[in-house]
């Protein structure tokens, strides 16, 4: 009996704080709070590596940062000082790349909002809806 697949957890973080998190659940499934906590812990553990990569690599797709089977973590660096992190269960790299690119497009538009600061959380429902739609398109 294999363990349930790891939750799909997406995180956008500024240099100081997370500014957006989303868990993409298949309809009908739930995740236990302990696996949720573990998922968050795994994602945040990659932040140091991402900080180092920010200044050493010019590519924005960071590909797979680490694997703790069955979970894998992929990263993406937008032009701003933020980082995108995705916890997933061994998904197709191309889909993840497309996911990050599309979310980046929406993210940059969200940053254009004069009321949205670099360090502020993204609370817009419109942003949340669009990120979830992109996740449904590429990550399910």
């Amino acid at each position: 009996m294999s363990s349930p697949p790891p939750p799909l957890l997406f995180l956008i973080t500024s240099p100081t704080d997370p500014i957006y998190t989303a868990e993409f659940l298949k309809p009908g499934t739930t995740t236990s709070s302990s696996s949720k906590q573990y998922a968050h812990y795994l994602l945040h553990s990659q932040l140091d590596i991402v900080e180092k990569l920010k200044h050493s690599t010019s590519s924005s797709q960071l590909k797979t940062l680490s694997s703790h089977p069955p979970s894998h973590i992929s990263g993406f660096l937008p032009p701003s000082p933020h980082a995108f992190l995705l916890l997933h269960g061994n998904m197709n790299g191309d889909n993840i790349t497309k996911f990050f690119n599309d979310v980046c497009e929406v993210f940059l538009k969200a940053m254009m909002n004069p009321f949205q600061g670099m360090e502020d959380g993204i609370n817009s429902k419109g942003f949340d809806d669009r990120v979830r739609a992109i996740a449904r398109r590429y990550l399910s």
Binding site: H55, S56, T57, S58, P79, N101, M112, M118, S124
Partner: protein
Amino acid sequence: MLQSSSTSRSSHPLDRPLHRRAVTGSEVSLSAFVLLFGELVQLHQTTSSSVPEFEAALSKSGWEVGSRTYLMNANVKVREIRVLGVLQFLSSNVWMSLFNKKADSLEKSLNSESEYMIHDSNPLPTIFCEVPKTLGSFNPSSFVAGIIKGALETAGFGCEVTAHRVEEGEGNRTVFLVNFCREVMEREEAFA
């Protein structure tokens, strides 16, 4: 007259296209911009109690502009991690996007390792600005200095930027002095 042909009132802000390259209809008329900038300057003048405070407030407004302009124009696939790279991007792409021309020149200072200079013979936001004598040393190009700082800091390069008028009688030749912070220079050295 502001035209909104490319934006529909009913579409969500996150669905509207980001005009990365100037598209007919995405440009702003100079008069509209100058009117808005004039109001911005007057707002800061009334809320500031000293010339340095006035310049700092104007610079902060410029910071927001520079930050967002950088994000709009930056290449999403390839990020700038070198000082010279980001400065060249700034003096060509960002300048083109905002002022429809490139900066006159980009120089490295001979005095200091961390200082660079961007020259502009007549920065666009301030082409109609004539500072009254009562304001003394106030330089309205601190708005553009703020733009530079916002763009560079958003790209990950902490710095201080100041605007200096090059004395030449009637012209408004301006030099922007960019001084990168220690952390940035240490990163640069690691590349060498």
